[in-house]
Amino acid sequence: MTLYVVGIGSDVGDDQVGWLIANRLQDRRADAQAHCCRSPMELLARLPVDDSLLIVDAVRSGHHPPGTIHRLQWPATTRLAAWQQPASSHGLSLADALSLADQLTLLPRTTLLWGIEIPEPTPTPDLSAPVLSAVDSLIRSADRYFPVQTVMDCG
């Protein structure tokens, strides 16, 4: 059984938190496979997946402090407005991309969406302190939600 972890974002500032968690889970777990996407449209190209899908994305709801973690299971994404709006008119919102994937039966039995609230984005190389503090918590959550079959020794 494989855990597909899709990070959505970029390699800059707090927007990289999805990629970071995806790559850390892949490094840590033999059953995890990471995909780094820049947009929900790219996510569609990674589907279908067979087993479990975990999507991790930076979000800005404006209602919660930076570092707040949102844990939702598809299709209950209506609770987070940030996933209803596309980041660009060139693409689909995450909710629309998942609706289309669902319609095309490309989604696995379990699809979880984790969002991490970030502060005002800045083009810095590193994560801000509150977002960094959420990373370890989410790694531990992944192990609880998706029981670890083999934990790799990362030294």
Partner: protein, 432 residues
């Protein structure tokens, strides 16, 4: 006796187009009184951002203008810069630039056909609704778009805002194994592309027979992408350096994008113009499939643009296969440029039509001046002309919902990229 309706249609935000635009339509006594495609996105001022930057920064900067056609921006820029510096790309670079463009045509056209246009032609509000009844077709669209993205990423390092294109070539050459994998994917995709041409040709598209001037590049012996002369259906045949002698950009009050006229008349750029003017440049394999559709070409039905896009997806697969079958890893993926003062022009065939660039450099290769004429701004006047023709040829007494849907379908048929087009600011300073 019935009274003629007064129609006021205001579409505040056009859906399923790239960027933000609007439409205003007023009909009085059966006559169109006002029709404006409003482009209200803030000006983006890219041309001014480029002034003072070094030549090697230009390809990455212009790639940021568009998330759908960054390859076109990079290709027009590098060709203009190389012309200014007196460089000629070597044959490997030339091949790879065509391959890069094949990738962009695939991803852009597949996105447009399946996600934006097909819901209009098949009567669905969105691609998600379309997918309920046409899941195989939508899956095919996603496969073709994904393949286009993979080609762009192979040369550009990533599919969105790629960074691999350089003046003189590319940052990195794909390995032989990467090229083989792409070739295999393209061979597998060829039946999808062929089926797509047949499918689009079988759609019940609205009838339309309009007179319009088409403009595209034309190359001596190949379907145009990066090179060629500018030609039109009205007999124009010029070097790209002569663009300003024939084309005139001007501002209209309702748009932050410049309108463009050829000899004071609207004109069409894009896949239908390209195909109409370059039918004899298609390889036999693509020509045969086009003939099998039973449609008559060149076409004066603007809605055949969707078929033209499918034909260019098929061509993109055929051409990419040809290029990859002879692929060899080069000794170097680029030539090193030597900057010099001068002016250079680049004009390439973006998915939506010709994209013209002009740059002036000082002796160190610093940008002194830049101009970018994107395809959507060139098509604006033509879109308004088409809307007027279509509405007058139809029934202006239709209810508002039907008229609105018709107008949106006409506009989306051009696959406008409004974000690309908004690069102009009419700055008026009143100093007392």
């Amino acid at each position: 006796m019935s009274e003629r309706r007064t129609v006021d249609i205001h579409v505040p935000v056009l859906a399923r187009v790239e960027g933000e635009g609007a439409l205003e339509l007023a009909v009085r006594d059966g006559t169109i009184e006002k029709l404006m495609l409003r482009i209200y996105e803030p000006p983006r001022l890219f041309e001014q951002f480029l002034v003072g930057r070094e030549y090697h920064e230009v390809p990455d900067m212009v790639a940021r203008i568009c998330g759908i056609c960054p390859v076109a921006y990079q290709m027009s820029a590098v060709h203009a810069i190389e012309q200014a510096f007196g460089m000629q790309p070597d044959p490997w670079v030339r091949d790879m630039r065509r391959l890069y463009y094949c990738g962009e045509w695939l991803e852009s056209h597949a996105l447009h056909i399946h996600m934006l246009a097909a819901p209009d032609f098949l009567g669905y509000p969105s691609v998600t609704a379309l997918a309920q009844d046409y899941p195989a077709e939508v899956r095919r669209g996603l496969r073709l778009q994904g393949l286009g993205n993979a080609i762009v990423a192979a040369l550009g390092a990533r599919s969105v805002h790629p960074v691999g294109a350089r003046v003189g070539g590319f940052s990195r050459a794909p390995t032989a194994a990467e090229a083989r994998a792409l070739l295999e994917s393209l061979r597998e995709a060829l039946p999808d592309a062929e089926e797509l041409v047949r499918w689009t040709a079988s759609l019940e598209l609205p009838a339309s027979d309009q007179e319009f001037t088409t403009v595209a590049l034309r190359h001596g012996d190949e379907y145009p992408m990066n090179e060629g002369r500018l030609v039109s259906s009205a007999g124009l045949d010029i070097d790209i350096r002569e663009f300003d002698d024939h084309f005139r950009e001007h501002q209209v009050p309702h748009s932050t994008a410049l309108h463009s006229h050829l000899h004071d008349r609207p004109y069409l750029v894009g896949p239908l113009a390209r195909l109409n003017l370059n039918l004899d440049r298609l390889p036999a394999q693509v020509q045969d499939l086009l003939d099998d559709t039973g449609l008559s070409w060149p076409s004066r039905n603007m809605f055949h643009s969707v078929v033209a896009r499918a034909v260019e997806i098929h061509y993109g697969c055929v051409e990419a296969i040809r290029l990859l079958e002879r692929y060899q890893t080069p000794t170097a993926p680029r030539l090193e440029p030597t900057p010099r003062a001068g002016v250079g022009f680049g004009c390439t065939e973006a998915p939506r039509g010709i994209l013209w660039h002009r740059y002036e450099f000082d002796e160190r290769g610093t940008v002194i001046d830049s101009r970018i004429v994107p395809p959507t701004s060139q098509n604006q006047a033509r879109i308004e002309q088409d809307l007027k023709w279509t509405l007058e040829a139809g029934d202006l007494e239709s209810d508002d919902r039907e008229l609105r849907q018709l107008c949106e379908t006409v506009i989306r048929n051009y696959d406008p990229c409004i974000s690309c087009a908004t690069h102009f600011l009419d700055l008026r300073i009143d100093r007392q």
